[in-house]
Amino acid sequence: MTWELLLVQSLNGLQYGVLLFLLAAGLTLVLGIMNFVNLAHASLYMMGAYLGAAAFAKTGSFLVAGAAAVLGTLAIGLIVERTTLLAFYARDHLDQVLATFGLILFFNELVRVIWGAQSVYMRPPQGFTGTVDLLGATYPSYRFLVIVAGLAVALALYVLIHHTRVGMLIRAGASNPRMVSVLGVNIRLLNSLLFGLSAALAGLSGLMAAPILAVQPGMGDNVLIVVLVVIVIGGIGSIRGAFFGALIVGVVDTVGRTYLPLILRQVAERSVADAAGPALASMLIFIFMAAVLALRPQGLFPARR
């Protein structure tokens, strides 16, 4: 095991974590501040990937693809919020789960009607198809771009939440939503704004995942479960929690996947280790979540109350 390999695997974990963070940040805000369970977040991620891939195929410009993905999902998010979800804010969580699960089915079918059941493939942007050399290790340049862009968005979110008036209201809303509305803040507008921001982040995440993963109906469904794990680990409603939770899950999953079978081989027979390794590795983040829930049920980095 060389340190270059460890570096590359850490970057892989970071890259996965950054994508998870973009999804988790929006979902945790909506869940923490609006107290709304939005499973359709997975669909917004998928729509971002589809809109980005379609725009990129048409124009060949990654910037246009980015605009299409972010603005497109922002618009979809606002429309869905105004027309459908508004009616569910006051209902209990089970109703919200059912309604947003219905939206997942709707969007999965919608993309199947528009783009077909076959996967759509998006190329990385021009100039990011090769590799970069980082301290002697070779790394795909597009994945490096994802890390840089993801960290930049994380920084921008930090500034937005901690150093602007809107951010102050969001933080206040996370701590005590009733008090915020009593103070005369238009909580409805704040909710729409939050939901739009959350949708745009999901769309951005979908766009960035598109050149790496296959763009296909239901692509968000699996990732949604991991994002929920991230939120639980980090603490519901906490952007900081989403950030560190996502990075922890990304690194634990990647390193576990690659090293666990090798470690198991030291203690068990090879055929047993080969069978148990991948199975155990895919359970790792859930075991980790269970441990966090048992020891720190509020999450590792809860929103300050």
Partner: protein, 389 residues
């Protein structure tokens, strides 16, 4: 004069009526995956089959055909319902198509127990080539493992010493790596099985690069193959290591992969570039009619239609004489797009297997070029388990 022409017309009319009565259309059931993510495979099979039927004016072997197309949806339970309908309601004597091995296995016993002929133009599971072979089952494509065996032989011939293998963690993944090893005959430095739903292989590719292999063997069918090859290219490994594959780059995935697949090697009995007269005719006619390059799924299905054409002609449409019809099928008296083609005693083919590499041809199209013929006149490894003579 008038009388004579009237009489002539009368005779002609009678002749036409009797021939029409004799020419009840023969029913053939066609099953395949025709919808969903794998729908392109079944569609290619169906289009190529119908290319032959329609070229012959709706006939095979001179007999008018009624092709009953059914989508098995890659669901064994759906396939079972479809087979019940074809056998009991439509009373078809022959079933063609067949895309996936798990679907084939699910319906196999019912079909052969009903003494209905099943001509699989794609799936070739090992039990059907081996211990559970039946006089009513013919494999026109190959036994599944053979596409791995040819690549294993190629790797051995090239003298690769350190081979690293990757496949999804399910039965076919294990079968392909076992097939590779059967002819590579040396231990692999590593075998990695990834979860079947995993789409990102970057972490595994980093481990692979660190192991410094001479060559890599991979089996990732369908959409997984597109993912794997794209990430292989993005990781920069494509310029450093030979990638040997089975069923990963094919006629369905190549149009999506394009330049990302350049240099990828795979083993198969067919390519659109093989220079046989029947193959040139097939590729040209298929492209003209459907406006796309045929895949291997189309090629073997086209062969299955030619096989049926020859056998039905031999028995003059009397497929009810099962013994005679079976002998006519087994004779394989047709000109295959794969050149040499004959059936072994287990009714699976004996044919040449090639190693192909993806290149860009002078017309700017991505296609495969023959590299070597590691396994000429190759029979599958399960035939010895089949008790049929």
């Amino acid at each position: 004069m008038m009388v004579r022409s009237k009489l002539f017309g009368f005779i002609a009319a009678v002749a036409l009526a009797t021939s029409a009565a004799a020419q009840q259309p023969l029913k053939i059931g066609f099953i395949g995956e025709l919808s969903g993510p794998q729908g392109a495979l079944g569609q290619d099979q169906y289009d190529a089959f119908m290319l032959v039927v329609e070229r012959n004016g709706g006939k095979l072997g001179g007999v008018p055909m009624e092709i009953i197309k059914e989508d098995t949806q890659l669901k064994p339970e759906v396939a079972n319902q479809v087979i019940d309908k074809l056998i009991e309601k439509d009373k078809v004597p022959i079933i063609a198509g067949v895309t996936f091995s798990n679907v084939f296995m699910a319906v196999y016993k019912k079909v052969v127990d009903s003494k209905v002929f099943i001509i699989s133009s794609n799936a070739g599971p090992s039990p059907i080539a081996g211990a559970q072979c039946s006089p009513y089952a013919f494999l026109v494509n190959n036994q599944n493992d053979e596409r791995a065996e040819v690549v294993g032989k190629y790797a051995a011939d090239k003298g690769y010493k350190r081979v690293y293998a990757m496949a999804p963690n399910y039965q076919a993944g294990k079968d392909f790596i076992a097939g590779f090893k059967r002819f590579y005959k040396q231990p692999l430095i590593e075998e990695v099985y990834t979860p079947l739903n995993q789409l990102d292989f970057q972490a595994e590719l980093a481990q692979l690069a660190a192991a410094k292999p001479d060559a890599v063997y991979a089996f990732y069918p369908g959409g997984l193959g597109i993912q794997f090859v794209r990430q292989w290219r993005q990781s920069g490994l494509a310029d450093k290591l030979p990638l040997l594959t089975s069923s990963t780059v094919d006629g369905i995935t190549l149009p999506a992969l394009q330049e990302a697949a350049l240099g990828v090697i795979h083993g198969s009995p067919w390519s659109p570039e093989l220079d046989f007269p029947e193959n040139r005719r097939f590729v040209a006619e298929f492209e003209k009619k459907y406006n796309r390059v045929p895949s291997e799924y189309a090629a073997t299905s086209y062969d299955s239609a030619l096989l049926l054409d020859s056998a039905i002609a031999k028995v003059k449409g009397n497929v009810a004489n099962k013994e005679a019809f079976r002998a006519a099928l087994k004779a394989a008296d047709f000109r295959s797009v794969r050149g040499k083609f004959r059936f072994n005693h287990n009714q699976a083919p004996i044919q040449d297997f090639y190693a192909f590499v993806v290149v860009k041809n002078p017309q700017g199209r991505y296609t495969y070029q023959e590299l070597a013929k590691p396994l000429p006149d190759h029979a599958d490894s399960y035939a010895s388990q089949c008790p049929m003579k």
